[in-house]
Symmetry: C2
Subunit: 233 residues, 2 copies
Amino acid sequence: MTATIDLAVSTVIFALRPDPADPDAPHVLSIPLVRRTRDPFARRWALPGGAADAGESLADTAARKLRETTRLQPAYLEQLYAFGDPDRSPTGRVVSVVYWALVRPDLADQAAEGENVRWFAADDLPELAFDHNRIVAYALWRMRTKVEYSRIAQAFLGETFTLSELRRVHEVVLQRSLDPANFRRQMEGSTAIVATDAVQTGGRHRPPRLYRYDTTVRLADNGPLTDAIPGTD
Amino acid sequence: MTATIDLAVSTVIFALRPDPADPDAPHVLSIPLVRRTRDPFARRWALPGGAADAGESLADTAARKLRETTRLQPAYLEQLYAFGDPDRSPTGRVVSVVYWALVRPDLADQAAEGENVRWFAADDLPELAFDHNRIVAYALWRMRTKVEYSRIAQAFLGETFTLSELRRVHEVVLQRSLDPANFRRQMEGSTAIVATDAVQTGGRHRPPRLYRYDTTVRLADNGPLTDAIPGTD
């Protein structure tokens, strides 16, 4: 059988945001979703994305669709997976190449929000369009297995951060508590982060030291490939 | 711009095989290639693959095309990457979803070979069709970064193996010598392999012990996704 196969791109963007269910609780892993205006799955929430464009790279299309729907512009997208089950769309065969990215809180705040674009806690989603719940579950798994061996936490923080802030990111991503003393020892013994001469201001008795990542190491090692998006670096 | 995008699937299959340049040398990482019979790139060697089929999952199409062209039937394919640069094919936009697999020597021997199907040393390829050299380079990188933390070497060996055989697989994949005593200590301290009661026969003075992998652990951890091919397990 040979019939048409449509190609789409979608993006899972993670940021640490206030929990919509409890704004006073610690921030949670969150993703922006877009409400569909058409069938199939009209009114359901879905990942930002759309049809691939013959003149654009897949990563460029993913970035453009993301910008058009949410106004978010991450500097780096990594390809997650091509989802291609024959029955994943009720209206014909659609293969979706999915990208993922992490966004710092200050950039996440610039996202459009309204009736049709909204941040959701990644672990507490409604029933999404297509197989998007499964896609988010896979993206969460990939991030959680990756945070321990690369610098993913960096993408959630600003240029500099305290060890407590860094530990909190790891705790949210890994969904478990980490012993502060052990974490400090581990990080101070690592070559990944570098102490700066600055401390965090705010009038506390013993202001905590600020650290930064060693930027000579790439955020996510994608080997000989790159999905850097032209013009956003 | 909206125009047609063709979707293809291709597969990179690695096996340890005799070096075509020196049949008496240690085995090398090898891949089977198929000679193209049509333009573009007629007569050039290319990865086994073809057009995606609207009624089949991507992994099923990859496995079928592989079987049809090379007679190889790996039990497990893992998705590598979707290659989608706008200019990767001279005759229109083609996005290729690429799978990879590892094949044991006894199964690799069953591959068709002839004028239009042949094994090549993966590190010594001619100029291939499309961007297939780049795809193989990425597959090599992915395998070399993965062999240290998962059980990839298992796929290159039979059910049981000696520690020398296991070390040789690691050496070929990682392209460096490993100290035999260190390697033995590391493997004996790992829970990944289990000593059997058997030794390798062959009339040597001190026949080496045979080991097997602990099969309760999956070969490659693909998380909540699976690309197992129905009917091949």
